[in-house]
Symmetry: C3
Subunit: 136 residues, 3 copies
Amino acid sequence: MDRQDDVLSLVLFSGTDDKLNSAGVLAVGAAAMGRKVNVFLQYWALDAFRADRVLKDHGVAPEAGNWGHELVQRHGTQHWSELFRQAKEIGDVGLHACSLSMEMFGITKDDLDPLVDDVEGGAAFIAAADGTVTFI
Amino acid sequence: MDRQDDVLSLVLFSGTDDKLNSAGVLAVGAAAMGRKVNVFLQYWALDAFRADRVLKDHGVAPEAGNWGHELVQRHGTQHWSELFRQAKEIGDVGLHACSLSMEMFGITKDDLDPLVDDVEGGAAFIAAADGTVTFI
Amino acid sequence: MDRQDDVLSLVLFSGTDDKLNSAGVLAVGAAAMGRKVNVFLQYWALDAFRADRVLKDHGVAPEAGNWGHELVQRHGTQHWSELFRQAKEIGDVGLHACSLSMEMFGITKDDLDPLVDDVEGGAAFIAAADGTVTFI
């Protein structure tokens, strides 16, 4: 079953490893089903996709505490960047950096991991999100 | 009006009482309208659904501060677990534990509150979410 | 292209300036495309929309740290309240205060910024969200 019409539009805002893992699982799952996936990287999620920071420790949600932080680090079988790489290999998955956030951080496309396809404005992202938006 | 076709797919990630309250209100509201509701419990939300932890204090969003924490505790008329119980009574509402998170915590179905129906992989959840996903 | 049928339903839960900025950008973008936008203000987002607090510093996501906090404050070209104002000017955008959260804070409609249209129950909001819900 091919469902190219059902675009999964993800706004990634948070930059902690647990949320990025969760987003990666959704992206891989949707790509495996033949759904188009559009990812918009803003704020702290964009910061986590900098070429020199992807593999660093980005912490976890505050409610997790030290116990949860260690749990996530210890359990991690696959890094979230690996999940997004897989999603791009098996499906039509685009990663777009938010132009406003790029400006705020004062960085250019070259500062980002090659997983990121391009820089885009919020209006363009919304225009492509014909259905709805999942905010993570 | 019956709207069984409009599935509300909720990914519960956060485990604080304020967000779980908010999720419970959405689940009850959608169930009352005859919409099918599919809930996927991950990370700290799954931890909050452990049988021996459901009724404990799970804190609130960090931005709330002590003032907000006390406010939520004092105001609470109905516990969020009660809202999910109601949602299940009035509608077609399924609560699924994320298999990866179960593994991370090293727990089994028996460790969870009976409100949780089963353990499921992320791919199965996404396959059932024909529309889009609300991430909380 | 007019897409009044595709309602963008936003539940605003978080009250930090970075998330409210992000929500404002989505609201403006959707309104510019002719989409109806329904915003439901809960918990800490509702608190941020109090008449006497809108322009105050509401902090940022905890993961941002001091570095990120300063970055957001320094960069801010347009306040998020300005984005919602623009969205209302160009499109069909409604801001509704959650009645349960109003009760929790012990406030009335008069305590809120005039941007907020009315007070509404969760069931009414869900009933209007015929598609899905974006939770921020």
